[in-house]
């Protein structure tokens, strides 16, 4: 037995224990009250931080309830390969879930979701950055989700917004991600993972809406709606999301001001 050393250290193939859990199937009941006792339009407490990642030009950390996302911006760096030359900067975004981040254990098709999130974030961030200012350069953004409790995409976009703002890269505006869950006539702001994943309402609209928004320029940089909706309803939801984004903006500015003060102090010390 155990001839090669490789065999000794290789871990046997295993499956998440959640597969073997027996859950009593709850009858699909309409949830009338939110689990955490919030009102429908109430947001979870948010924590914004910056300057967490040491090697990056800028970084942001967002906690939205217990959802935790870290984003870091690298660059702008020179593109050396001639084929990749362009007059605008190239912005790349890579989003990953930590293996322990998703409820219910590791998921098999997570890489597909990661790719979808990556390209959505990329397209929502490109309108924010002044790409023409950085010809022949590349800007990389890494986003890592440490815990998923709903609204990962929105939290990720906000974290990228903070990271970009602290990186010194020229942008048009801040960018804020906000999301909601529609369930029949009700609109739940900043849903938890359980609410996001809940069974569709019996009739009427349902689904998740995530919006990326630049508050000063009043521009929508990203939109993702899933489920079943109607243009009129979606428009209403978007305008209420925009209101929420305006509400979140001061919190984000506060975080940036704090970092500025800290850097000022540091430079005084070094002098």
């Amino acid at each position: 037995m155990n001839l090669g050393s490789d065999r000794k250290t290789r871990v046997a193939a295993s499956v998440p224990y959640q597969r073997f859990m027996v859950r009593p199937r709850e009858p699909e009941k309409e949830f009338c009250k939110r689990k955490d006792g919030r009102r429908d339009e109430e947001l979870r407490p948010r924590i914004f931080e910056s300057g967490l990642v040491s090697d990056a030009s800028g970084s942001g950390y967002v906690e939205q309830g217990s959802t935790k996302v870290v984003a870091a911006v690298f660059g702008p760096r020179e593109v050396t390969r001639r084929k990749e030359f362009s007059l605008k900067a190239q912005l790349r975004c890579v989003f990953t879930f930590e293996p322990f981040a998703t409820p219910g254990g590791r998921q098999e098709n997570i890489s597909l979701l990661e790719q979808r999130y990556s390209s959505w974030l990329e397209e929502s961030l490109k309108p924010v950055v002044q790409l023409r200012r950085y010809p022949k350069a590349s800007i990389d953004i890494r986003v890592t989700c440490l815990e998923n409790d709903g609204g990962v995409l929105a939290a990720a976009l906000t974290a990228c917004g903070i990271a970009l703002a602290t990186s010194g890269i020229e942008t048009f505006d801040l960018v804020i991600g906000v999301n909601l869950r529609a369930h029949g006539d009700r609109v739940l702001m900043d849903p938890s993972h359980a609410e996001e994943d809940a069974a569709p309402s019996r009739e009427g609209t349902y689904g998740n809406v995530t919006l990326g928004f630049m508050p000063v320029l009043c521009q929508i940089t990203g939109l993702l709606q899933t489920g079943d909706s109607e243009p009129a309803t979606l428009c209403q939801q978007i305008s209420s999301l925009i209101k929420i984004a305006h509400g979140v903006k001061p919190l984000m500015e506060e975080c940036l001001i704090d970092l500025g003060k800290l850097q000022e102090k540091l430079s005084e010390v070094q002098m």
């Binding site: 037995m1 000794k8 250290t9 290789r10 871990v11 046997a12 193939a13 295993s14 499956v15 998440p16 224990y17 959640q18 073997f20 859990m21 027996v22 967490l52 990642v53 040491s54 090697d55 990056a56 970084s59 217990s66 935790k68 870290v70 870091a72 690298f74 990953t96 930590e98 293996p99 322990f100 981040a101 998703t102 409820p103 254990g105 590791r106 990389d140 890494r142 890592t144 440490l146 815990e147 998923n148 409790d149």
Partner: protein, 258 residues
């Protein structure tokens, strides 16, 4: 640029035989450590460790594996380690060499320390622990910080009960989460700069020194892993003092972990 110049300056100072630690620490003093446990709800055990400017997140997941034909009893390899440096070496293919090397080292340490000792499920099924280390900020002594994070996460590890019904051949997992028996290895990193033993090096010091050494101590104060890297030779006396120092520090840290 400024960073590179700073290192050049330190190297010049080193060549003249003057060496001082930038943060004013004595050669044998450790940086302050901060550990917060169980902050990630989706993981079975988790911790966040800040060691100076090094910041590491550790998440644990329990999984169930089946004993393969031809194997007698539960295999000793029941811990898998994955190290991720998502904010370092951007643009390289994943996992990078550095990540692989650290994963393998940590796995070897955890297995020789028998860190994860759950009660067996049955003759056919056993628990496997998957450890994921994510480094958010790097400023030296990543192995030491990772081991502290793993120890913190292990002490908060809770797994549900699993029952294998032999007659019906059904494996069931309940929702009665319980603490799992674990031992916590504590690692202390050393380096040698100018023939002096320097403990818990920052990134800059790591670049100045000739390789890192590592001593890992388990709960019974015995050495489970000893590694000397780099191009300089070590006096047996220095090795002895490394082990002594590691023992002392691991006791302090263990108090902190509880």
């Amino acid at each position: 640029m400024a960073e590179e110049l700073r290192i050049l300056q330190s190297q010049a100072e080193l060549a003249e035989g003057r060496f001082q630690r930038k943060d004013g620490r004595a050669f044998d003093s450790h940086r302050a450590i901060e550990i917060s446990k169980g902050s990630i709800g989706t993981a079975d055990g988790s911790s966040l460790v800040r060691l100076g400017d090094t910041c590491v997140v550790c998440g644990l997941r329990g999984e169930i594996a089946e004993i393969q034909l031809g194997e007698s009893g539960v295999p000793s390899a029941n811990i898998g380690v994955e190290v991720k440096l998502p904010f370092k070496n951007i643009g390289y293919s994943n996992p990078s060499e550095e990540e692989q090397a650290l994963s393998q080292t940590l796995q070897n340490i955890l297995m020789s320390a028998e860190a994860f000792q759950p009660s067996p499920i049955s003759d056919r099924f056993f628990w496997v622990l998957h450890v994921t280390i994510t480094c958010l900020a790097y400023d030296g002594n990543l192995t030491g910080a990772s081991l502290a994070a793993i120890s913190g996460a292990l002490s908060s590890l809770k797994l549900p009960g699993a029952h294998h019904d032999l007659e019906l051949d059904i494996l069931q997992v309940d929702d009665n989460y319980q603490n799992v028996k674990c031992t916590q290895p504590i690692g202390v990193g050393f380096g040698i700069i100018n023939d002096e033993l320097v403990v818990d090096m920052s990134n800059e010091e790591t670049l100045l020194s000739n390789g890192e050494s590592m001593v890992v101590i388990d709960e019974d104060d015995s050495v489970v892993h000893l590694h000397k890297g780099g191009g300089t030779s070590v006096d047996p006396k220095q090795l002895q003092s490394m082990i002594q120092d590691a023992k002392k520090h691991s006791q302090e840290l263990r108090k902190y972990l509880k």
